[in-house]
């Protein structure tokens, strides 16, 4: 007997493995399997939409609307920049350079990589390691760690661990020893392996700091922990002056 479409959709939304009977049926029945896989793909897109899109968007300068207004000879009353009148300040973050030479896979096909990473993290959860860092509380487990090695000119070294609480919230604890003087600004980042993208986690005040990971961030995509020395010039971009860096590995 075929499962109800509602059941297939609910199963896909759950993200759990189908039970044995369902697995057997899906293997044997093309129609149900296609249906299920289509629901899974849609569910993956919904999950991926959780991160707030607004935060990822840049704003064009006022000259763009001015050019459109002029080119199309629009009504004078519509001349002011529609975006500048918005109360949200224009982002000062740098834009991303083109992914040169990388053929980006289309569609939602990147999702299996995310799912695989989640499985790895899930499997690794619950294995604690001995560490000098603050022990995780009973409902937190260490899911990944990194040894942070110095860049030329620095003698610092450090470690980072990712903790995950039972409700799925993740924090990163970063510890830095050595000659990184206090008094200078040090910023903690997660980077793509090829440094084509990065996420700022916050400033490291002391030798140890704890930062919440933004929900939805994929550690498979941003597997490198970096601590940089930052001038206090108000520019939110990475200074390019890294003190230590290291790759996260599951424990």
């Amino acid at each position: 007997m075929h499962p109800e479409p509602d059941e297939l959709a609910a199963l896909a939304a759950d993200g759990r493995e189908p039970d044995a009977a369902m697995t057997t049926h899906l293997r044997a029945c093309d129609d149900c399997r296609f249906e299920y896989e289509a629901f899974q793909a849609a569910a993956a897109q919904v999950r991926a939409s959780e991160a707030n899109l607004d935060l990822d968007l840049e704003r064009p300068s006022s000259s763009v609307w001015a050019g459109i207004h002029r080119e199309l000879s629009l009504d004078d009353r519509l001349a002011s920049d529609p975006i500048a009148s918005d109360e949200t300040p224009r982002s000062v973050a740098p834009i991303r350079a083109a992914d040169r030479g990388v053929s980006r896979r289309g569609g939602w096909r990147w999702w299996p990589a995310v799912a695989a990473a989640a499985v790895v993290i899930g499997v690794l959860a619950g294995i604690a390691i001995g560490t000098r860092l603050p022990p995780s509380s009973p409902n937190e487990s260490i899911v990944a760690e990194a040894r942070l090695d110095p860049f030329p000119g620095w003698t610092a070294e450090g470690r980072a661990v990712i903790q995950e609480s039972s409700d799925g919230r993740r924090t990163i604890v970063v510890e830095l020893d050595g000659d990184a003087e206090t008094g200078q600004l040090r910023e903690v980042w997660l980077l793509r392996e090829d440094a084509t993208g990065l996420v700022s986690l916050g400033l490291l005040d002391d030798t140890t700091g704890t930062f919440a990971l933004p929900p939805g961030i994929d550690l498979g995509e941003f597997p490198v922990v970096d601590v940089s020395s930052e001038p206090s010039d108000g520019d939110p971009a990475h200074s390019g002056d890294s003190i230590v860096r290291g790759q996260l590995r599951g424990v």
Partner: protein
């Protein structure tokens, strides 16, 4: 070493978003600074019928998306601003070809952006080919369209356009990760109704995706 870098989700940018805008997330799927979907439909109809105020409103709403798609692909603010300008000018001049009953204004604008970004790459490649021939070098212009970003925008829009109850069901299931029984309890709905809402909503997303995938403007 990090001269050209991406800020994917800068925490400080999050801090720049006013508190009340962040709170919009709690009410539903609002991810664009958007009016409700009823207003969206009015906006699309106004645009199609040549209302200049609707063009301005569409720009306010979608220029950041168009610009970011262009900037990420072209890696250059100035080229991205040129493309953004061209997209809205082209959209306005060809508005008679826009049918609000067939596609959303957002997906139409994304379709035009895709073409204009490709044109910008082509123009750039032509210039580099000439320069490279003079210098005897090979040329690669590898900028790509950010499909993930375009899809997130389209899925967010589809979720925003769900009716309030299914939208709430989807938010609880996917963002708050509640089980279907918990959702049924919370909303006072039969479990079967919760599952039906999930099926219908996922189907809407699928169908939307299939529509968006069709050749655009």
């Amino acid at each position: 070493m990090l001269s050209t870098t991406v800020i994917a989700q800068d925490r400080r940018r999050r801090a720049l978003i006013p508190e009340h805008r962040r709170d919009e997330r709690k009410d539903g799927f609002r991810s664009m600074s958007a009016p409700s979907f009823a207003e969206d439909d009015t906006l699309a109809e106004g645009f199609a019928s040549g209302d200049e105020a609707a063009l301005r409103a569409a720009y306010a709403r979608w220029a950041p998306l168009v610009y970011t798609l262009a900037a990420r692909s072209l890696g250059n603010r100035s080229d991205a601003e040129d493309v953004t300008q061209q997209v809205f000018i082209a959209a306005w001049r060809s508005r008679e070809r826009f049918d609000p009953t067939r596609a959303s204004l957002q997906s139409w604008l994304i379709g035009i952006s895709r073409h204009r970004i490709a044109d910008a790459h082509e123009a750039r490649a032509r210039t580099s080919r000439i320069e490279a021939r003079l210098a005897g070098e090979a040329v690669i212009d590898g900028g790509v369209f950010d499909e993930d970003l375009a899809e997130r925008a389209m899925v967010s829009e589809a979720l925003d356009r769900l009716d309030p109850v299914p939208r709430q069901v989807m938010r609880l299931a996917f963002y708050d990760r509640m089980t279907h029984s918990q959702i049924a309890d919370r909303l006072g709905l039969p479990l079967g109704t919760v599952k039906s809402h999930i099926r219908r909503s996922l189907t809407r997303i699928r169908e939307r995706w299939e529509v968006e995938d069709a050749p655009g403007a």
